[in-house]
Symmetry: C4
Subunit: 235 residues, 4 copies
């Protein structure tokens, strides 16, 4: 059940960092069956406990709902797991400094080593390219698949007027990338205000840094603090 | 007394989110008599308890003051309840990122789905259009009625050099809208700094999103935390 | 000893609001002798207790030091009390959003009702007009008197590359003005980024608002929380 | 062991102020042997305890690792201690407001007295001048020595797309300088947005202020709070 605890820790860590409000979510692919994933029921992230974790197939149908409500945007997760076999964890959030990029067409680029995964630019999902007049939510497989296509091979994608998605080969990466994407957005805004010419990380630096940038010194700390809080909340 | 506890939770939630300082207030229309509303006595919001809630008629005259002081700007609430029969809750605040919009004539518009209620623009109440040389406070029914006219059918209005008002069909909406209006103001500022052309939510998206944007995953969390704090404060 | 507790509460409230770091200070004029004032010894504000309060004459000479170190910039306080008989409390701080105004020659003006005391502009103390090559600190009576002259009849003055001073007819006002000056500085920056034409409070509005803007709904809350913390720190 | 406790306090203080995330580090030169320095093992800063402190020679070889992992960027510390005999403490961090300066070529200058150590400008280490295609980390002595050369006689240097380093004749200074460098970066950005002409501290003011700016009123407070937390964490 370690991956259940990882997931509880991820929800609470993202809430603690202000990356997700009451509406974000994190999932992990099942370690024993690549055709399944786990995500919490519809609930404020900072309240998630192990018993709130539900299992889904890749069409995002719950396997054993037991009366629990599914989050409406679970198709983001299922469709990305279909499209990206190496991805083991997905985060969707409304991280506030990223959203202004999503509505201005300004490309986020790798500005510092902690967010080298941004590389030479992140894509931006425009839901209107798929369907007009939506409430912006990714409520079905068609929208989820379109989002996965825009994401392509990237580590993250913005979603116009909505938020962003980060993915990783493990949960430390999907969570760490969400936290540092928010920080990188603030830095890029500030850099753009300071001067016209920004020195981005070059392709060789991104290539050298990205594989080692695993947030593994941070993750055990985040996990420990979050699970201590989850335990305290039970009392 | 559930609506009294809702109100206690609303005051404390707004203070916790930094949306109201010592001077904001929240009201609910009486569920049993549409000609009455409830609001706390003049007190710092983070200290409000059930016994601080007072009842008023729509002319904002207290029904049973018991020596408690009324907030001077209660006419904001009474006059809006007169003008908008469907409104069941009103928040007035000094939410800091909204005020710069109120003094520059820059229109706030719906930039992201969590604040779709902003629609194609919020009005801005200029008190000088009604009366010159005031202290900016809405201290009587005439000013309150003028504010209600500027609000019109909108979900919120700015108040020049002062703050803003949000309304809702229930308290989760008036509170949630205040919190997300503040966030939306920050995002719009950042977007305006990043680029000239902002992709706003279009009319069809606003129409689709606004009815479902009810903050109902957030409200039970906010309420529970606030009431736990209110209870702890009694000890 | 109520004014001693007021002072303890003021130090801790300003630290809690991020208005003073380890280096700000607050004083009150003695209620029994207008030629005396009280201020804490050289100590981080969030640690101040009643026994850290020292008494000074208006030349800023301690009356009964008992081996306690005086803050080097106490002359700010003494010289303002000499020049402004109605002033009963003075705050000096390094409030971070105010300092950028002090080095750019941009005048802070009254933008919202909670900071109406700013009026049609705050002065800015340039220490080089009095003495060149200082460490910027107001270390003697000559510098303090020059600062008091720049302050004139205003409720606050900026200090170039250093910070600011606020004054009041009581401690609620000097403290409240420091807190809302910081907020007003942030709002003015944001308004200036949003648009060229800012609608300031007009002279009649400032005249109407300033006398009633006494921060008296906030002060008892701040005081109670700060003194509870001071008491807890003794255990 | 007082310097071990100083180091524990420094790690935790920097984390508490948001100056270091999970990846920054602080060192002190050994008080008994100038050819040695102490730094914590690879660990999140807010968890550091006395037993996590390791000793290194100036080539950054651990003397008694006992199976503990060294931080990969320790060469920053060793090479600066070689080059600057008077330096007794070094901090490396990813302080977020400083990084935008590092990628825009905008020089940080002394804007206020709490950060007078910035003087007439801080250098910026461009790792590509030494080696292309790195992951930006200072992973060996050659890179560390190059960084030390760029630092020269300054109190701090930026590192392009990465962070910064501050040094001091004691730990209060290296820590205090990191905290106030972050604040100064924010203020300089704000000042640049407010106006074109910034009044910097002049050379005589820097010369007068820098020797007295020792953060000694702040350090005992920071230390006490951090060590109380370290003690509580053991329970």
């Amino acid at each position: 059940m370690e991956h259940f605890e990882d997931l509880v820790a991820a929800y609470r860590t993202l809430a603690e960092h202000g990356v997700i409000d009451a509406y974000g979510h994190v999932s992990v692919r099942s370690p024993s069956n690549p055709k399944r994933y786990f995500i919490a029921r519809s609930l404020a992230p900072e309240k998630v406990q192990v018993e709130d974790i539900m299992e889904y197939d890749l069409d995002s149908t719950p396997l054993d709902a037991k009366g629990r409500d599914s989050v409406s945007e679970r198709f983001i997760h299922g469709e990305i797991y279909k499209a990206r076999p190496e991805v083991m964890s997905v985060v969707h959030n409304h991280s506030p400094s990223v959203i202004p990029f999503s509505v201005t067409g300004v490309t986020m680029k790798a500005l510092w080593h902690m967010a080298s995964f941004i590389g030479d630019g992140l894509p931006n999902f425009e839901i209107r390219d798929v369907r007009k007049g939506t409430d912006l939510l990714v409520r079905d497989a068609e929208l989820g698949a379109a989002l996965a296509r825009v994401l392509g091979g990237s580590a993250a994608t913005l979603m116009r007027g909505h938020g962003s998605v980060t993915v990783g080969e493990n949960i430390a990466r999907s969570v760490g990338r969400s936290i540092y994407l928010e920080l990188s957005a603030r830095m890029q805004m500030q850099a753009m205000l300071l001067g016209k010419d920004i020195t981005w990380m070059d392709a060789a630096e991104v290539k050298a840094n990205m594989p080692v940038q695993d947030y593994k010194r941070a993750w055990p700390l985040w996990r420990e603090k979050a699970l201590a809080k989850a335990k305290a909340d039970r009392r």
